[in-house]
Symmetry: C2
Subunit: 158 residues, 2 copies
């Protein structure tokens, strides 16, 4: 299957909120995002990993840096109401993405992207993928460097 | 912004591998997926959450259930070589997705999807999103129920 990387994208000035120790019970994620939607907080990406052994999950999401404080406040209330262990906020992150077609078997493209970031001395904090996009959350300070190295490695026009 | 949900999709017979306690050092994700690519293991989605306080990350990825044992073996080797705490394998999961356009502000659509799953008594194990897709990993046993409730709630044609 021909993998064609078409372009790269960068979203600067994002904040990441992580809800740690979320009870792994039906309906909890629905309550969290219904509340966030009620407050009209922009959600860029959502990443949840489950920890079945301890019956908890970690839910991370990105929002505009300008909405970080409000997002944290909403999540602090949710944490008290739903028994979520803690809420972490990181206000200085960015998302760099590779966009392509036929990326169903991600590992080849992913490995190339992750390697490009490693060579450029960029640490990868979060990863999320879909069939046509691979995204990495990095420090805001690394945003330009991250985009540049991806353009170089995948030989994309500016 | 008009949010238009266009359809739903289901991928059955997936397995999930989770690498826990991955050193949060540059180049580690590149090594993991370069090795997986070398073994030609199909990777459907990748989800990584970072735990900055402890300087570790958890990396989860889904693959075909038929490749589960090989994926686990490859990851067990990586765990020894890279100092990854543990490798968890879950062989009976499925991915249900909502596909739309203009989903940039996910929280409204996400809340509706998560609520539909909660009403149908489906537990959400993983979540990953991009601008046009929201995906949830659920137990394989819940796959049909999950797809049905999403069709109903978003009024999608079969
Ligand atoms: C955990 C892993 O993603 C690491 N932070 C890296 O950049 O490779
Ligand atoms: C953690 C949260 O996603 C929970 N498992 C739910 O289904 O809502």
């Amino acid at each position: 299957e021909e993998i064609v990387v078409r372009g790269a994208a960068l979203k600067r000035d994002l904040a990441r909120v992580v809800l740690r120790g979320v009870p792994n019970k039906m309906g909890v994620a629905a309550q969290v995002f219904a509340r966030i939607a009620k407050h009209n907080i922009m959600v860029d990406d959502i990443i949840q990993n489950v920890y079945r052994e301890h019956n908890i999950a970690n839910i991370g999401f990105t929002t505009n840096a300008s909405e970080a404080m409000e997002a944290q406040a909403v999540c602090d209330d949710l944490a008290r109401e739903l028994g979520i262990e803690s809420v972490e906020l990181d206000e200085k992150v960015a998302k760099v993405s590779v966009v392509g077609i036929g990326m169903k078997t991600h590992s080849g493209v992913a490995a190339k992207m992750f390697n490009a970031l490693a060579e450029a001395k960029v640490n990868i904090e979060n990863i999320s993928t879909s069939e046509i996009v691979i995204s990495c959350i990095v420090r805001l300070d690394d945003a330009e460097k991250a985009l540049q190295t991806i353009h170089d490695v995948f030989e994309l026009d500016k």
